[in-house]
Structures are given as structure tokens and as C-alpha cells.
């Protein structure tokens, strides 16, 4: 059987490609509209992406371990609703945030428990909890919206680092992204995720705690979603049950575009970050150029497809060319 011959380098190639595409998008964007390459616009653009980017970090880990968490957006909604309820009940904000983060972790724990204990496929489990958590958001907050958050806190979601155009949440994102990258690429834990994702049985036979690792990943995913919920709530100064509806697809799209294999075992943080921003930049540039919304939707879909199709076709062309060149003189003996 022919083995899919995809050494690690071709992945690096894809990441480099995404980064080049980001640069290209910035360049083209600046031609499309002169307001594009302004600090204010870039600041808005990135602040609009922050929740997606945050959740994409943990989603990267989850997908590399060959699982998926589709319930993230619902966790955001549920946690946002809880934050609103707590605030409306006069719970002090720091405590309310802590409880919210705890609820997110709990939601992640339930996902992880169902996946690891009962051995259910995560796609099925998180489709179920997608409904459950969104439902709980409505159960918590119903048709109400809580909006009277104190300016100190909303400024954390909305404001800029004094003297700059950098949105405050982006600072949090940069820190968390760095931590995630180090954990994934340079620690035994990160290493083990690749093995678990590529062959769970072999990972278990190598003494890796597959179940526990996955449980941790789902908890992290829930926790990160809760953190994103806090930022979301403050950024819009609005706690509603339908917050972040449908966000999961944007997150998954970013992760896949970033070169993470949906089958697990392959991917990197930097690629995902580049991809999330690539989507954001393209959408922003096209919106500025008054390209209608439906085209944006199409472009997002095409990007996703091309991100995998492109390298596949390139590899095939390369292989064909190699075969042709080999027909001429075989060099050297056996390797």
C-alpha cells in the first residue's frame, strides 16, 4: 500500500504559505482601500477576531489529539449568560468571573468525560452539548439581556492599551498564544498529543495517559471558551443567551486552514494563528471594498478548500515531475 508520504517539512511549507498569504492580503488590502492599513482599522480588525483566535488555540490542541469540540460557541453563550446573571444578582465581578471560568471548565469536563469514559466520538458528544449548553444559556437568561456592566470591566474588552492602538484583549491573546505554542511544541505533554492523535492505541501502549490527556484538553477548551465569553461579554457590554452563536464553525475553519489535520497528529499553533488572521484580514479588506457579504461567505469556504487542495495538488505535481526526472539517469546505489 502506498504510504502517504508527507514529511514534517511539507507542513512547515504550508505554514509559511499561510504567513505569506497574510502578507499578501495586507498588501492587496492596502490597495483596495486607503483606510485599510491604518492603525485604527487593524486594531478593530484584530479585536473582532479575538474570541475566535483564543478558542482556536485550544481547538488546535484538541484537533491534533484527533478529537473535536463543536460545543465551544455554546459554552461561550452559556458562560456569558451566567456572567450576566451573576452580575445582575450583584455578585462582585472578580468572583463572577471566577465562577464563569469554573462553569466553562465544568462544561469541558462533561465533554471530556463523555468522550473518555463512555468512549463516545467527540463529534457526536459535542453536537449534543452544543444543543445542551446553548439551551442552558437560554434557561439561565431567557430573553433577558444584561448590559449594565461597569465601565472598568467593559473597557477591558473594548479599550486599547493606553497610548497605543492595541486592543487590551489582544495582549491576553498574545500571552496565551505564546504559552500554547510552547506547551504544544516543546513539552512532553505537547509531544504526546501528536502521538495520541496519530495512533491512540500505540500511544496507550507507550504508557501515555490517553484518557487523562484528552480530558485535560476538553477542560482547557471549556476554560478557554469561558475566558472568551468574559471578553465577549465585556467587549459588547452585553450578556445574552445567543452570544457567539455559530462561532464554532469559524474556529474550526481557522484551525483547519492553519494546517492542522482533521485526523489528528499534525499541525502547529503558528499556522492556526496566521490562518485566523488571514480570514479576518480578507474579510475586513473585502468589506472595506464594499464586496457584498455573500461573496465573503464564498471566499471563506474556498479558502478552506484550497488550503488542503492546494498542497495536495502541488505534491502530486511534484511527485509526477520527480518520476519523470528519475527515468533519466538513476544516481548512486541504494540509500
Amino acid at each position: 500500500m502506498s504510504v502517504p508520504h508527507k514529511p514534517a517539512r511539507s507542513l512547515l511549507g504550508w505554514e509559511a504559505a499561510v504567513i505569506v498569504l497574510v502578507a499578501l492580503a495586507l498588501l492587496i488590502g492596502s490597495f483596495l482601500h486607503d483606510a485599510f492599513l491604518t492603525a485604527a482599522n487593524l486594531s478593530n480588525l484584530s479585536s473582532n477576531l479575538v474570541e475566535i483566535a483564543l478558542i482556536a488555540l485550544t481547538m488546535t490542541l484538541v484537533v491534533i489529539a484527533a478529537e473535536i469540540d463543536l460545543s465551544v460557541a455554546s459554552i461561550v453563550g452559556m458562560c456569558s449568560a451566567l456572567l450576566g446573571v451573576l452580575w445582575a444578582a450583584h455578585v462582585p465581578m472578580p468572583l463572577a468571573i471566577l465562577v464563569t471560568l469554573a462553569l466553562g471548565s465544568l462544561a469541558g469536563f462533561l465533554n471530556g468525560w463523555l468522550v473518555t469514559r463512555l468512549g463516545l466520538p467527540s463529534l457526536a458528544v459535542t453536537i449534543g452539548t452544543l444543543a445542551l449548553y446553548r439551551g442552558l444559556a437560554y434557561a439561565l437568561l431567557g430573553d433577558r439581556a444584561v448590559a449594565d456592566f461597569p465601565p472598568f470591566w467593559t473597557n477591558l474588552g473594548f479599550g486599547l492599551v493606553p497610548g497605543t492602538q492595541i486592543p487590551i484583549p489582544i495582549v491576553a491573546f498574545v500571552i496565551l498564544a505564546a504559552i500554547t505554542a510552547v506547551v504544544l511544541h516543546a513539552t512532553p505533554f505537547g509531544r504526546s498529543l501528536y502521538a495520541i492523535g496519530a495512533n491512540e492505541v500505540a500511544a496507550r501502549f507507550a504508557g501515555l495517559r490517553v484518557e487523562r490527556t484528552k480530558l485535560v484538553l476538553f477542560i482547557l477548551s471549556g476554560l478557554m471558551s469561558a475566558f472568551a465569553a468574559v471578553i465577549y461579554t465585556f467587549r459588547f457590554s452585553s450578556a445574552r443567551a445567543d452570544n457567539a452563536n455559530g462561532l464554532e464553525l469559524a474556529v474550526v475553519a481557522g484551525v483547519l486552514l492553519g494546517g492542522v489535520s482533521i485526523f489528528g497528529g499534525r499541525g502547529s499553533v503558528i499556522g492556526v494563528i496566521a490562518a485566523v488572521f488571514l480570514i479576518g484580514i480578507i474579510q475586513n479588506a473585502l468589506t472595506l471594498a464594499d464586496v457584498p457579504n455573500e461573496i465573503l461567505t464564498i471566499v471563506t469556504g474556498l479558502l478552506l478548500i484550497v488550503s488542503v487542495l492546494g498542497p495536495n495538488l502541488a505534491a502530486r505535481v511534484k511527485a509526477a515531475r520527480q518520476r519523470r526526472s528519475q527515468l533519466i539517469p538513476p544516481k548512486g546505489g541504494a540509500a
Partner: protein, 310 residues
């Protein structure tokens, strides 16, 4: 003759660009912009989420539009961003669905919440003889307008003349045709004694009417609410629905455009009592809290429905 300079840029930002209701409103808005020789466009998300509207506000700001005419998906979420826009000299008009009042210059309201809610209750009460169980089939649970109207309806129902009417359920069709359809069907199952339904949303009422018209409850359960004549014509004629109401969404957009132009040209500032001329709609006055009211609802029934086409 209007005193509006040429070339004013006006951007419409509806909740959803693909919604037929907003498409109609934009038709009116566009017509007005043409009349005062402005430059108009409509942009917006395909899904009704507050966060997607925010990114549009930001790009409109970056594009230096003179006025933004927005129907808000969330009463609060847009406020900080709209404030920033106003801080940079952009005039903000809300239409159809308002935001907190410091987030805009004026709100062009289809009708006051009180009028809408009262008229709806009155319409239904007449159809069921002020008696029996009723339900409301709303849009999304967070729809600002609908929630405001429902609140007034609940107050209204406490009045003595409605004491024999009992609101048993508020259902949500999420402004999704299929969901509204099945919600309506669920209502009939869960509440056998239901006499009437109010659906204050154009998507909800047409789906509900469609369900009723093909069910044994046709003509037995009254249905009213807010709908467009084109959607409802068939059901009025076949006796499923005897009457419903709406304003003219085209006029709503038209008025919003003129309000935006009046703000930009400095004719009004949004103060109570400011007056401006709104083309074919004549002279209009800004009311309390910067609200400009389009006018009373039109009630549609067998006798007049064929006179309308929207």
C-alpha cells in the same frame, strides 16, 4: 429646495441583508437617497448576530461615511461602537430596532411600542370575542422589538376588558420559517383550548398562517400580528386570517434616509421638536428621546389587502 447638499454618503446596516423585510425597507431608503442626490449603500451580515454588525460599523467608520442607518440586533452591544462613530462626526440613525438612546442621534420608529402592542391585542380580542386562551409566537428570544411589544401586551392584557383572555404561552420561532411553522404546530398540540395567536413578526405570522390553512384548526383559531400583504394575501382570502397589521417598511427606510440627511446637513440635531421635511412623507418632527414616528399601523383585511403590494 430641501437644503440637503448633494453627495451625502448614507450606509444602511440592517440586522440581516438577506431578510425580505429589510430588502423592502432598503428600497425605500434608496429611493429617498436618490431624491436628495446622496450616495447610498446597504451592507450587513447574513446572520442576525450583534458581533457581526460591529465589524460593519467599524468598516463604515473607516470608510468615513457621513451617516449610518442601523437596525440593531442588540440594544446594548453596538452602543460603544456607535458612540465612537458619533464622536468622529458620523450621524447615527436607528430604524426598526433601536439601541440605548445615547448610542444614536435619532430613532425612526415604525410606530410606538404602545400603539403596536395595543393594536395587536385589540385586533385579536375582536376576532375571538375577548375570551379564551391565547399565545404569542415571537421571533428570537432576544429580539429587542418583539420583547418590548410583548411586555406592553402583557400589561395591556391586565385591563378589565381583557380579563377573560389568558396568555398561556410565548413561543419562539427564531424568525426561521421552518421553526416558526413547527412551533405553531406544537402550540396547537400542547394547548387544545387555544383560541388565538399573535405573531408580531413577519416570518412568524406567515409560517403560522401556512400551518393553520392546511390544518383542521383553520378558521377556528384566530391569528393576527405583523405581516406583509404579499405574504398574507392568500391566507386572508382563504379565511385563515381575518386581519393583521403593519406599517409600510418602504416608508420606514425612506423616512430613515431623510432623517439621516437632515442630521448630516444640520437641519436637525435630534432634539425634541426639531423639524425636517421628508420628501413625499412631508414635514416630520422629532419627538421625545429623539424618536421620529412613522405613523399609525395599517390594518389589512379582505377589504383593502389588494390595494397594497409589498
Amino acid at each position: 429646495q430641501t437644503g440637503i447638499p448633494k453627495g451625502i454618503t448614507v450606509a444602511f446596516l440592517p440586522k440581516q441583508v438577506n431578510n425580505p423585510y429589510f430588502a423592502t425597507a432598503w428600497k425605500g431608503g434608496q429611493a429617498a437617497i436618490k431624491e436628495f442626490a446622496g450616495v447610498g449603500k446597504q451592507v450587513g451580515p447574513s446572520d442576525a448576530g450583534a458581533s457581526s454588525q460591529v465589524s460593519y460599523i467599524n468598516t463604515l467608520l473607516a470608510q468615513r461615511q457621513k451617516a449610518i442607518v442601523v437596525s440593531a440586533s442588540d440594544q446594548n452591544a453596538l452602543v460603544p461602537y456607535l458612540k465612537r462613530a458619533m464622536g468622529q462626526g458620523v450621524k447615527v440613525v436607528t430604524y426598526d430596532s433601536d439601541v440605548a438612546k445615547d448610542g444614536r442621534n435619532v430613532f425612526v420608529s415604525q410606530a410606538s411600542a404602545d400603539t403596536i402592542a395595543r393594536d395587536e391585542v385589540k385586533l385579536l380580542a375582536k376576532q375571538i370575542g375577548n375570551k379564551g386562551e391565547i399565545a404569542i409566537l415571537s421571533a428570537t428570544p432576544n429580539a429587542t422589538n418583539q420583547n418590548a411589544w410583548i411586555k406592553v401586551m402583557q400589561e395591556e392584557l391586565k385591563k378589565p376588558q381583557y380579563k377573560e383572555m389568558k396568555l398561556v404561552k410565548i413561543a419562539y420561532g427564531n424568525d426561521d420559517d421552518q421553526k416558526s411553522f413547527t412551533e405553531m404546530q406544537g402550540l396547537m398540540q400542547a394547548y387544545p383550548n387555544l383560541r388565538g395567536v399573535i405573531s408580531p413578526t413577519t416570518v412568524g405570522i406567515s409560517a403560522a398562517a401556512r400551518y393553520l390553512s392546511s390544518s383542521p384548526y383553520k378558521g377556528k383559531v384566530a391569528l393576527t400580528g405583523l405581516g406583509t400583504p404579499n405574504q398574507m394575501r392568500e391566507f386572508v382570502k382563504n379565511g385563515t386570517v381575518s386581519g393583521f397589521a403593519l406599517w409600510n417598511p418602504e416608508d420606514l427606510g425612506y423616512l430613515a434616509s431623510y432623517a439621516a440627511a437632515a442630521l448630516v446637513s444640520g437641519q436637525i440635531t435630534g432634539k425634541e421638536g426639531d423639524k425636517f421635511s421628508a420628501g413625499k412623507l412631508g414635514q416630520r418632527t422629532v419627538g421625545k428621546d429623539g424618536v421620529i414616528i412613522l405613523g399609525p399601523l395599517t390594518v389589512f383585511d379582505k377589504s383593502n389587502i389588494d390595494k397594497f403590494n409589498f
